[in-house]
Amino acid sequence: MELVYALVIGALTASGVYLLLRARTFPVVMGLTLLSYGVNLFLFSSGRLSTGQQPIIGSTTAYSDPLPQALVLTAIVIGFAMTAFVVVLSLRNLADNNDDHVDGARPESATRGKQDEEVSDK
């Protein structure tokens, strides 16, 4: 079981990292989502895998570790907030540069200084 679980996390990480390295914003956002699935599963499993031992007092005899669960619960919600933020960042990029490349409209470094000036002028 542990091996299967570890393979799942590995697959999530690998595809997440691959998408993270893409040039367009939307695949990067999907990559981040996959990565956060992997990370959440990983953190959750630090309490070890157990079956039918939900940490509700009185429902069973042995309980799984509730602490990682509590941490992951908030991590899921915050992960959503982060995804939403990154999505909006990419939408703003699209609106400002009319392009969804991760480097903005003009990735070549020669024009970067100029671009910065324009931004600060605003």
Partner: protein, 933 residues
């Protein structure tokens, strides 16, 4: 307490002084003098200890782990320097009062001057080498600001930058040298270091340490080949030059050599490095000074030369030479500060410093001329003035060096030659400026005497020159004795402070220097012609070229590393993470720990297989964005199932509802974005990325496997045991969230709120026009809000709200709680937006999500703060059981209020984010009126 007070007072004064700037220059000058006067009074009581060779140490612990103590130490040497800094400092403050124009930023000037003074005092009074280094760097910084005080001038900025680069670089070398010394001695305390001279000199690292320390001293004291910064620093206002470049800043390097004399001097290495550097500086400075037409340029090069002289004396290594060096420090400070001030007066009154134009000023300003002539004579070494005394000692010492054969002739010849140059440039200063015909084309004509009190500081210093020159034993004897005692670290040799020692070889050298110098000056035109034949090296151009080469180099380096591409950064990040994690992972060796593997059941294995396929599918199909998104949502659902499978019902419910919101969010984003990704990466690039991601995936697999099979102990038993008796709930996860770790949760919902507000702010006033169709040429459906969906969605809302209320209330005991209930409510509301449109829904909701977020945070904080009112720590919860009719016994915990805050914040944040994106499209606003009708 008095020593740190002396150092800190000027800094306090620097804060206070600008407040007096409103009151005019006189007010601020008086206010700026106060710290120095108090400091002098604070030093006075220590004189009794110091005059007999004692030291005063006042020490406080600061960072004992790395050997820095807040420790101050006063002995004869530091007293001498402190007096120079304080007394000349007060005179400079008075002088600057008249020098600066009322329109200038006098507040800034005095504040900087006081900061500099405090830093200098810190150097000379520090009892700990590292503390001294801090002040050392402070003088570099403050002098940078002072030199560039007229920062509208390019030359001033460049000169300041050059000074900072050279002295700051030397400071780094000094730091390294001090660290080595500290390592050898085992302490940075000055007392320990001075006592460990033999240990240091015998150590293998001594040559390195000595070279580094001397680099620091030579750069600061403008020794060859680092002397070039000093003449360029003359772009500073003249009070700054008079203070920094005669009496203080450049003497810091000299002070360092004197201070560490017992610890470092007396070896052959010291002798060769210090004396030859000093000799070269002495000659070069004196030679160049002769040919400078700028008044301050002449003085600057003469300063370089005199600093070389003092360095040479320290380098000689004899005790008498060290005494002469300390003596010359005093003498040079007095006559050079007064000469700089006189030059400033001349500049002030004539508008130029070019000696080819200012001639014959004797007729216009006889008072100033007299003062300047006395000081210049002292610089030349005329008898009965203080410069003569130390120069005689220098000549005498140059004859005493035990060098083999012909080499023994070199020091006296160099000394006499430098003396000739000194007489010649001093004669030029006197004759060119005050006599030699009439002024030529002065910007301010006719020049006249400056204000009365502008001359006062010069008078004081010139008076000191004469007093020391005529009555050395009375005027300066005790101070010199105590300083020499401290420098040598014990026994002081016999020396005589007499005006004249009889007709001996040094006197002959003086006479030769005089005659030679006057002849040289009278034949100056020939020398000028001779000198003009050589191409002058423009140090500034060389320096700028070197600097710009370094800048180009680092720009290229930065450009290679940071090319503005996020892809590159992400790649570097992944590579570094893999590299950092690889080593311990490889060292681990065995990946299946003591607990072994548990059996796999088929349903789980199939679900895991689907998840893996869908995850890879998302990556493979990412160019078809919609397909990839569908696969991604499958992954999310199976993750939710995994939580349920492994005994985490709360997580499963959270993941499920978040999944819905996430997919809606991504669909919304996709509406505005291109629906497919162009092929941009080359095959090699994709191969590289696949390799990297596989490495990351394999790494994570191994880490997870190793972790899962390790036996472990958890702190969770505490939570399991105390959840019911302490928190009043049986759902331990929820009790942890709202009670045990409530503070964390409060922080987390705050993050959620900030993210949502950030999204709102980022999209406000942004318009995005979605593409007309889905990218394959199909237009969007005209029926934006289908009737069926509308009819089903509306009755869903009350049902969903009821369920979320139930989930919320039971959360403390059964799976549920604020987070999950908030997400369920959000999903229900989002459904209304999807079904009925933005405006329709917004009209009926009737409140703003910003307010909801605020309310939620307020509830959570109040619930936490409520316990403070009962004398418990923040977020202590309490609970009780009440009986409701029908429902029966029911538990009410104060944590419920906290959870309500969580609930509201989650709804507000989720919907604010989604609604902000939904509102982007111009269509959402246009369509809805039609919707309403």
């Amino acid at each position: 307490m008095s020593l740190p007070l002396v150092v800190l007072l000027p800094f306090l004064g620097a804060i206070a002084a600008p407040l007096f700037a409103q009151g005019g220059r006189t007010a601020i000058a008086i206010a700026s003098s106060v710290p120095a006067l108090i400091a002098l009074a604070a030093l006075f009581p220590h004189w009794e200890t110091l005059s007999t060779g004692g030291t005063v140490v006042q020490s406080w612990e600061w960072l004992p782990a790395i050997g820095i103590a807040f420790s101050f130490r006063l002995d004869g040497l530091s007293l001498l320097f402190a007096l120079l800094i304080l007394i000349i400092g007060v005179l400079i403050i008075l002088y600057a009062r008249y020098y600066l124009k009322p329109t200038e930023n006098v507040g800034k000037f005095y504040a900087l001057l006081l900061c500099f003074k405090g830093s200098m005092l810190g150097i000379v009074l520090s009892g700990n080498l590292l503390l001294m280094l801090i002040f050392w760097e402070l003088t570099s910084l403050t002098s940078f600001l002072l030199i560039s005080f007229w920062n509208h001038k390019q030359d001033a900025r460049r000169g300041a930058r050059m000074a900072l680069a050279v002295t700051g670089g030397g400071g780094l070398a000094l730091l390294a040298g001090i660290l080595i010394i500290g390592r050898i001695v085992g302490s940075y305390e000055l007392d320990d270091v001075l006592a460990a001279g033999d240990l240091i000199k015998a150590h293998a690292m001594y040559p390195v340490a000595l070279t580094l320390v001397l680099l620091g001293a030579f750069t600061k004291s403008a020794q060859f080949p680092f002397h070039f910064w000093l003449p360029h620093a003359m772009q500073a206002p003249t009070p700054v030059s008079a203070y920094l470049h005669s009496a203080t800043m450049v003497k810091a390097g000299i002070f360092l050599m004197a201070r560490l004399y017992p610890a470092l001097a007396g070896t052959e290495l010291w002798f060769y490095m210090v004396s030859f550097t000093g000799m070269a500086t002495l000659l070069i400075g004196a030679y160049v000074a002769m040919f400078k037409h700028d008044l301050k340029g002449l003085l600057a090069h003469s300063t370089v030369s005199h600093l070389g002289l003092i360095t040479l004396l320290f380098g000689m290594g004899t005790e008498l030479a060290a005494v002469a060096a300390v003596f010359h420090v005093i003498n040079h400070a007095t006559f050079k500060a007064s000469l700089f001030m006189a030059a400033g007066i001349i500049d002030h009154e004539t508008g130029t410093r070019d000696m080819r134009r200012i001639n014959g000023l004797w007729r216009y300003m006889p008072h100033t001329a007299t003062l300047a002539m006395v000081a210049a004579s002292s610089m030349a070494g005329v008898p009965l003035l203080n410069g003569f005394l130390s120069k005689e000692m220098f000549f005498a010492e140059s004859l005493q060096l035990n060098l083999p054969g012909i080499w023994a002739w070199i020091p006296p010849i160099v000394a006499t030659l430098a003396g000739i140059f000194a007489v010649a440039y001093s004669a030029r200063f006197i004759h060119d400026v005050f006599f030699n015909g009439k002024p030529v084309n002065l910007p301010i004509y006719p020049p006249h005497e400056p204000p009365r009190y502008m001359k006062f500081p010069v008078e004081i210093l010139v008076f000191a020159c004469i007093m020391v020159g005529m009555f050395p034993a009375i005027s300066v004897g005790p101070l010199l004795y105590s300083a020499a005692h401290a420098t040598l670290g014990g026994a002081v040799p016999d020396y005589q402070l007499a005006v004249i020692h009889g007709f001996n070889l040094p006197l002959m050298m003086s006479i030769a220097a005089f005659v030679g110098g006057l002849i040289m000056y009278s034949q100056r035109q020939r020398f000028f012609n001779f000198h003009a034949r050589f191409k002058e090296i423009d140090e500034k151009a060389v320096f700028e070229a070197v600097v710009s080469r370094f800048v180009n180099l680092s720009n290229r380096f930065t450009a290679t590393l940071e090319n503005g591409s996020l892809q590159r950064y992400a790649m570097l990040l992944v590579v570094s993470v893999i590299a950092v994690a690889a080593m311990p992972l490889i060292n681990l060796g065995v990946f299946v720990g003591g607990n072994g593997l548990s059996p796999v059941d088929w349903p789980t294995a199939i679900a895991a297989g689907v998840l893996i396929l869908c995850a890879f599918g998302t990556a493979a199909a990412h160019r078809e964005r919609f397909t990839a998104l569908v696969l991604l949502s499958v992954v999310g659902l199976i993750v939710a199932l995994a939580f349920a499978r492994f005994s985490a019902p709360d997580l499963a419910m959270t993941q499920l509802s978040v999944e819905v919101v996430t997919v809606v969010l991504l669909m919304l984003a996709l509406y505005y974005m291109p629906s497919w990704t162009p092929l941009e990466s080359s095959g090699a690039r994709r191969f590289r990325d696949i390799s990297l991601s596989l490495a990351a995936g394999v790494g994570m697999t191994l880490v997870t496997l190793a972790m899962l099979t390790q036996p472990f102990t958890s702190i969770s038993d505490f939570f399991l045991e105390n959840s019911k008796p302490g928190g009043g709930g049986t759902n331990v996860v929820n009790v942890i969230l709202v009670d045990f770790r409530g503070f964390d949760t409060l922080g987390e919902i705050a993050v959620l709120a900030i993210a949502a507000l950030g999204i709102y702010a980022m999209l406000k006033n942004t318009a995005l026009t979605p593409p007309p169709g889905d990218g394959q040429g199909h237009p969007w459906t005209r029926d934006a809000h289908p009737l069926m969906l509308k009819q089903i969605a509306r009755p869903m809302l009350p049902l969903a709200l009821m369920i979320s209320a139930y989930i919320f209330l039971r959360g403390h005991n059964l799976p549920g709680g604020g987070f999950i209930a908030g997400l369920i409510t959000s999903v229900a509301l989002v459904l209304q937006y999807i079904a009925s449109g933005m405006v329709w829904t917004q009209d009926r909701i009737g409140f703003k999500y910003h307010n909801m977020i605020g309310l939620g945070l307020l509830f959570a904080t109040i619930a936490g703060a409520g316990s403070l009112a009962f004398g418990y720590p923040f977020l202590t919860s309490t609970f009780d059981y009440i009986s409701w009719p029908v429902v029966g016994k029911f538990e009410v915990a104060s944590a419920l209020v906290f959870d309500l805050g969580v609930y509201l914040t989650v709804i507000g944040a989720t919907l604010l984010a989604l609604v902000s994106i939904g509102r982007l499209s111009p269509h959402s606003a246009i369509k809805s009126p039609r919707e309403k009708s």
